[in-house]
């Protein structure tokens, strides 16, 4: 069963084709990584999946429904969760309130339920002890964990993580990989990453983008041995 699929999805900006006719499928329950050199079109592609930008051509299907015309906030309500590449939390609000905002439209007014869900999410990423702190006062690594907690709390069907390990220390990266393996099976995950090590250790399958097209797709081992992928990254293609 495919949770997310795209059909000939394209995005043009004036004369430039950032995403060129991509048909892409994520089966339910998979941890999928999306990698590629800078400018490959990863961010544009994912923005079209989440609804942040509109597609020029093609379609996006989520959970069996054509969501191509749906605005971002409705896609989130349909079961997607999205964390930003550049940490985008509410710096002047408490850690608790940050996560509470993520879940309140689901708990609609039941503050007890909200509290339960927030505490669960904070515990899952390991920042429960910081619930009353202002989010802006957290360390960078903890802020990224907070972002993930905000996504988790929504109990999405698909969790989209945009470069989640960027700027994290090694210990924090290990913690992150543990988190992903805990989530495996509970939700489908789409990971956009530059850190190949993280990708190799946590992904079930990898899609490589280059110049707006899919260059290769397969298991970590297959991608690791793929000459074309190596060439793309080293710039010899």
């Amino acid at each position: 069963m495919n949770l997310l699929s795209t059909h000939n999805l394209s995005r043009k900006f004036g004369g430039i084709t950032a995403v060129d006719n991509i048909s892409f499928v994520i089966p339910t329950g998979q941890v999928r990584a999306l990698i590629g050199p800078n400018g490959a079109g990863k961010t544009t592609f994912v923005s079209m999946l989440s609804g942040r930008i509109a597609a020029t051509e093609g379609q996006v299907f989520f959970d069996g429904i054509d969501v191509t015309k749906e605005p971002a906030h409705l896609r989130i309500r349909a079961g997607m969760a999205y964390t930003f590449q550049i940490t985008s939390i509410y710096g002047r609000l408490s850690v608790f309130e940050n996560v509470a905002l993520a879940v309140r439209w689901q708990t609609s007014g039941d503050e007890n339920e909200t509290k339960r869900r927030v505490e669960d999410a904070l515990a899952e990423v390991g920042i429960s002890d910081r619930a009353t702190q202002l989010a802006g006062d957290l360390s960078y690594g903890h802020q990224r964990l907070l972002e993930i907690a905000m996504g988790l709390c929504q109990r999405p069907k698909l969790l989209i993580l945009d470069e989640p390990t960027q700027g994290l220390a090694d210990s924090e990266i290990n913690q992150f990989i543990r988190l992903i393996s805990n989530l495996r099976g509970v939700m489908t995950i789409l990971l956009i990453e530059h850190n190949i090590d993280v990708v190799m250790r946590s992904a079930d399958a990898i899609t490589v983008l280059n110049n707006g097209k899919v260059l290769a797709e397969g298991s970590p081992k297959e991608i690791h041995e793929n000459a074309a992928v190596q060439a793309a990254y080293l710039g010899t293609s």
Partner: protein, 314 residues
Amino acid sequence: MSELKKSWLLHLGIVALLLVLQFVLPSYHHASMARIMVLTCYAMGYNILFGYTGLLSLGHALFFAAGMYGLSLSMQHLEWLAGPALIIGLLSGVVVSLTIGLLLLRTTGVAFMIVTLMFSQAGYLTVLYFGEFTRGDEGLVIQQELRSIAGIDLSDPTSRYFAALLLMTICIIVSLRVVQAGFGRVLVAIRENDERTRMLGYDIQRHKLSAIVLSGTMSAAAGACYCLLFGYAGATFASVQYSIFPLLWVLLGGAGTVLGPFVGTLFMFYLIDLSSGLTTAYMLIAGFSLVMLTLFAPQGLVGEIRRRGLRWLP
């Protein structure tokens, strides 16, 4: 005691204090307080959009005037009674804010500010253009005998004070309910980071529009009541000056706090009152305060109090 209870006690306590003051204030200050309370409602309306949602309007006088002229024109030309005219004033606020709001949704940041300024200017000029009906700058005077609802003569100082206090209490209650409910928290989230809020699953356009309509209607209510209680509607209330005032009052008192608008309006009213006794250039105080506030105290008085300790202040 829960923070919620503390908030309600504090705010209702202030209302009670004002109630008591009615009986002890000398007549000049009695009249001033009545004015201040109505203008506070204008500031509270403004605060919902600026303080909580983070949208800076430079044209709120349009809403205040919509209420004021909705009421005064229906009383003057259609010969309606005060009660129904008040409803018209409110409805004018709803219609104008809804219309402008739908257009404003297409703008952000500085463009938003300028568009509000432009629509408000157009409104002011329209009031002048139809001077035949509105008497322009000279203004409309509503006769004393017409200014009564359900037999209560609102031109009488005591009734007038209570009416103003009633309006302010309603606005405080509405503000507290909005701020403490989910809707209010989403507005704050939009203010802090609107893209993030969108990607959490919230329809930010619908929230912004609701905030604009709520804000505009509260301001219009203040405008209509001002005319009803003080018997006068004039083009000055639609001018840029009256769009700058609520910004000033809210900034001074504390944007994003429920009591801030009251504190700011109270303070500024007396400051300008005192200085207009000294010079015709009393707007100098307003200008100077705006600069100082932007530079040194963007949190305002109540905002600073909240920041330095009383974090539960809504």
